[in-house]
């Protein structure tokens, strides 16, 4: 049996992973059958439903528009990219596996594919075991089908889906309430229902309400009609969780041709090129949505109107923030007399610091070069189990390369997020890195990995 080894590392602080994912599992819908009312269940079936017979997720009555499967998507030559980044499944290893899949003779077998689909994406016990290896003491779990929810057409169905998800996610966290936390889905299709769900999940102990900053059906979450939702966040103390995503747009209604996200443009650079390519999936999509939302709330005085709201900007990197806040300040000064809304009481950058925390992942180094700027506003995320995810040890390695002090490391990796969510550190802390993982015989060797990194090795012929 090959042994995958890692450099020994230690830490003396508790990490908080502010944005890791589960994949909405089949169990969510199974559970809903017995927990939702008959009316809720009927609307859910027509809106977003896992059909056991066909093993397909039905969205708005259409089959399989969502590529994230409620059961692990496994089989010969298949990698379930949203259940992939478990302990030690580093990016270079994924490259080697992706190269194998280019050739039917070397493609992954069904068993290998199953090995890589981590159960922790669906179930709490295996997740907790993975967290121990990954140096993750606490985690905020976030769903995966983020590009689907804004497009759920039936308002009652959207409400039922949020309830079904939130109740399932709450149960997931009960496995270890000191370590597992969930961010709630909110039915933004209808402000009244959104308010009701905010209060309902707050009763469950939820700390975050997720809102995707997109203009699906014209419902960008800056419209005045959402004021009651923001009032509810203030009243309950739930954090406004702003989570962007690549804009695949597969759940758009037929004939809807308007742009709903800046991220659609990066998709279009691919789709209009006439060339196969997908490397851009993780580049700019998130930033385009997050930066627009940050700009809108800061320039409009959103937080001055709702002074008790705290917000988390998830999964969008944070390097851009180092100049975007300055640009907002500059623009406010330049347009001071042209502004039609009430003057801001403080500059946009000051408001951001008072109200927001922004996420970053372990491979993003610039924020660690500017600790004084990011000091209290930066919170780490693993993005596990999505394929680009990685563990806390990787983030610490990067911070050490940047010569970041342990004090800042502990703030970025844990205490900033805990302060935002008002969560205590766990009683027991992971201190030592697991340095060896036993792997199956087919695990890529160093030689194979190095060979796979050559550009020519990855060309589809």
């Amino acid at each position: 049996m090959p042994i995958q080894t890692f450099r020994p590392m230690t830490k003396d602080f508790a990490t908080f992973d502010c944005d890791a994912h589960i994949v909405e599992p089949a169990k969510l819908w199974e559970r809903a059958e017995s927990n939702l009312t008959r009316d809720e269940l009927e609307s859910l079936k027509g809106t977003m439903w896992y059909d056991r017979d066909s093993q397909q997720l039905l969205v708005n009555g259409n089959a399989d528009v969502n590529s994230f499967s409620p059961i692990p998507r496994v089989g010969p030559g298949i990698i379930d990219i949203v259940r992939l980044a478990g302990p030690g499944v580093k990016h270079d290893i994924q490259r080697a596996l992706n190269v194998r899949n280019l050739d039917p003779k070397t493609a992954l077998t069904k068993e290998q594919s199953e090995y890589l689909a981590h159960r922790g994406a669906d179930e709490p016990k295996p997740r907790l075991a993975d967290m121990d290896v990954q140096g993750i003491d606490q985690v905020m779990i976030i769903p995966t089908s983020i590009d689907t929810y804004p497009w759920l057409q039936n308002v009652l169905g959207a409400r039922a889906m949020c309830k079904a998800y939130n109740d399932w996610a709450h149960e997931y966290t009960l496995e270890d309430p000191e370590r597992l936390f969930f961010a709630a889905l909110i039915p933004m299709q209808n402000p009244k229902y959104a308010v009701e769900e905010v209060y309902r999940v707050a009763e469950l102990g939820c700390r975050v309400a997720l809102v995707r900053p997109v203009d699906a059906m014209g419902n960008y979450p800056i419209q005045p009609k959402y004021e009651p939702v923001w009032n509810a966040l203030e009243d309950t103390g739930l954090v406004y969780g702003m989570h962007p995503f690549p804009a695949f747009g597969v759940a758009k209604p037929p004939g809807y041709s308007e742009q709903y996200s800046g991220a659609e443009l990066i998709r279009k650079t691919i789709s209009s090129s006439g060339l196969s390519h997908s490397f851009l999936s993780n580049v700019q999509n998130f930033q385009a949505e997050a930066a627009l939302w940050v700009t809108m709330v800061l320039m409009s005085g959103f937080f001055e109107k709702h002074p008790k709201i705290k917000a988390a900007v998830f999964e969008a990197s944070s390097t851009w923030l180092s100049f975007l806040l300055d640009e907002c300040d500059k623009t406010y000064r330049l347009y001071r007399n042209d502004r039609r809304l009430a003057p801001l009481k403080r500059l946009p950058s000051e408001t951001f610091r008072q109200h927001c925390v922004t996420g970053f992942e372990g491979d993003e180094s610039p924020p660690s070069r500017l600790p004084e700027f990011y000091g209290d506003i930066l919170a780490w995320a693993s993005d596990v189990y999505h394929h680009d995810g990685d563990d806390a040890w990787r983030a610490i390695e990067m911070m050490e390369e940047c010569e970041l002090s342990v004090d800042y490391q502990s703030r970025f990796l844990g205490s900033n997020a805990r302060r935002l969510y008002n969560i205590k550190a766990p009683t027991t802390i992971i201190r030592d890195r697991v340095t060896e993982i036993e792997r199956p015989d087919w695990w890529p060797t160093e030689e194979e990995i190095n060979k796979s990194l050559k550009p020519e090795s990855a060309v589809r012929r």
Partner: protein, 429 residues
């Protein structure tokens, strides 16, 4: 405030504003009517708009303050913000008159400058008729060449290239390559004919730029006069319009009355067109860097233009530079974790490729990451004043800012002058 420097400053990003005589005198007579149909800027006493392909895109901002050309020496961002919005303010004549511009350059501490268009930047790439686009490109290039002749060692320009027909584009590139003032070919990072620069259609352009040693002068615009799907700006402004939008018919919620149209067309808009509730656009905060970021990530790196044309020089202006490291890190990860579907080799070491490449990014002296890591950026950035935009910065201000951040003079020299002079194929003045 500093008043002396020991190096020459090359302003890699300033603008002209196209005057009516460009159309009336420089456009071939046979194209004057159709040329004004294809692209025209109307500056009226009451109405101002940009016309593209016969369609009118109205100004949505305050017409009393022409922010694309309002700055004059001595103005600060705060003094611009304090201008009376109810009183008409004149545009700076340095944006179309070379002697006035040279005086301003002297005042700003700018020794040489590279000039981009204003209205052509916003509309030229969208012109549908290739023959008219070619005629307008020649007119623009002839007008600005004459502008530059007033001070040939100080004034340089980006040439307009009719990308609508690549044969025409190559011809015009050949012509302008013989005219000394042209040190770059203007490329706005946007979708043209529903396609992006990732399309193989543009391969002959990259090859010709590389062969002629003409710099690809990439410069975005806010897209305030453009339709959706062309660049980041129009969508930003649609969202800006949502700020004042209330639904009277549905009481909120999704569906056909949720406001799923552009803000101007919504039946339920309280305050009217995009940005009306706020009072000003937000696209200038976002679109410049998002458009540049997308061009670099998609075209230069992802679709391997930088890899396949390693000797092509590129300057990507007016959109910050701090984001570059993060793009390279994300691209490196993407080459590993994304399932492989491409049919051509893609380098997996984007940071190495970036170091080796001949691409430079426009930067602002205020960018704190560059202040913190000058040695990381000093070989890859060029400074631009944005003159005469409302957010113009003088060279003196920029140098002072960098000095205050303890950036060494040698690094400042490279970032403020030497890099751009080299990238645009010029000696120091």
């Amino acid at each position: 405030m500093i008043t002396k420097k020991r190096f020459s400053v090359f302003d890699a990003d300033s603008h002209i504003v196209e005057p009516p005589q460009l159309w009336n005198e420089y456009l071939d007579p046979e194209y004057r009517t159709v040329g004004k149909q294809a692209l025209w800027r109307e500056e009226g006493a009451i109405n101002s708009y940009l016309k593209i392909n016969g369609k009118m895109f109205r100004d949505t901002g305050n017409g009393n303050i022409p922010r694309h050309a309002i700055w004059r020496p001595g103005m600060t961002w705060d003094s611009v913000g304090e201008l009376d919005p109810d009183t008409p303010h004149a545009a700076n004549e340095g944006s179309w008159e070379p002697q006035a511009r040279l005086r301003d350059m002297d005042d700003m501490g700018v020794d040489q400058t590279f000039m981009y268009p204003t209205w052509f930047a916003e509309g030229f790439h969208l012109i549908e008729d290739p023959d008219t686009a070619y005629a307008l490109a020649r007119a623009y290039n002839d007008w600005i060449a004459e502008f530059c002749r007033v001070a040939p060692d100080r004034l340089f320009a980006a040439a307009m290239v009719p990308l609508q027909n690549m044969d025409f584009a190559i011809e015009e590139l050949g012509r302008v390559s013989q005219i000394p003032c042209f040190r770059g070919a203007f490329i706005r990072p946007m979708f043209i004919e529903e396609r992006y620069f990732t399309h193989p259609y543009y391969d002959p352009l990259w090859a010709e730029l590389e062969r002629l040693d003409i710099t690809a002068a990439v410069h975005p615009t806010p897209g305030l006069w453009n339709p959706e799907w062309t660049s980041h700006g129009p969508f930003c402004e649609k969202v800006n319009g949502r700020l004042g939008q209330a639904n009277f018919l549905s009481g909120g919620g999704g569906g056909p009355f949720a406001g799923g149209g552009v803000a101007e067309r919504s039946i339920s808009t309280i305050a009217g067109a995009g940005g009306a509730a706020l009072g000003h656009p937000i696209a200038p905060i976002l679109s410049y860097w998002l458009d540049n970021h997308m061009f670099v990530a998609s075209t230069l790196i992802g679709f391997t233009v930088m890899q396949r044309y390693p000797d092509m020089k590129v300057v990507v202006s007016h959109g910050k530079a701090s984001w570059m490291e993060e793009v390279l890190e994300k691209m490196e990860a993407s080459t590993r974790v994304i399932p492989l579907v491409h049919h051509y080799p893609v380098r997996t070491d984007p940071e190495q490729m970036w170091d080796e490449g001949r691409v430079m990014l426009g930067f602002d002296a205020e960018e704190r990451l560059i202040q913190e890591l000058p040695h990381t950026f000093e070989a890859k950035v060029v400074w631009g004043s944005r003159y005469p935009h409302h957010d113009t910065t003088t060279a003196w201000d920029a140098i002072q800012t960098l000095e205050n951040a303890d950036v060494e003079e040698q690094s400042i020299d490279r970032m403020m002058g030497a890099n751009a002079a080299e990238q645009f194929g010029l000696g120091r003045s």
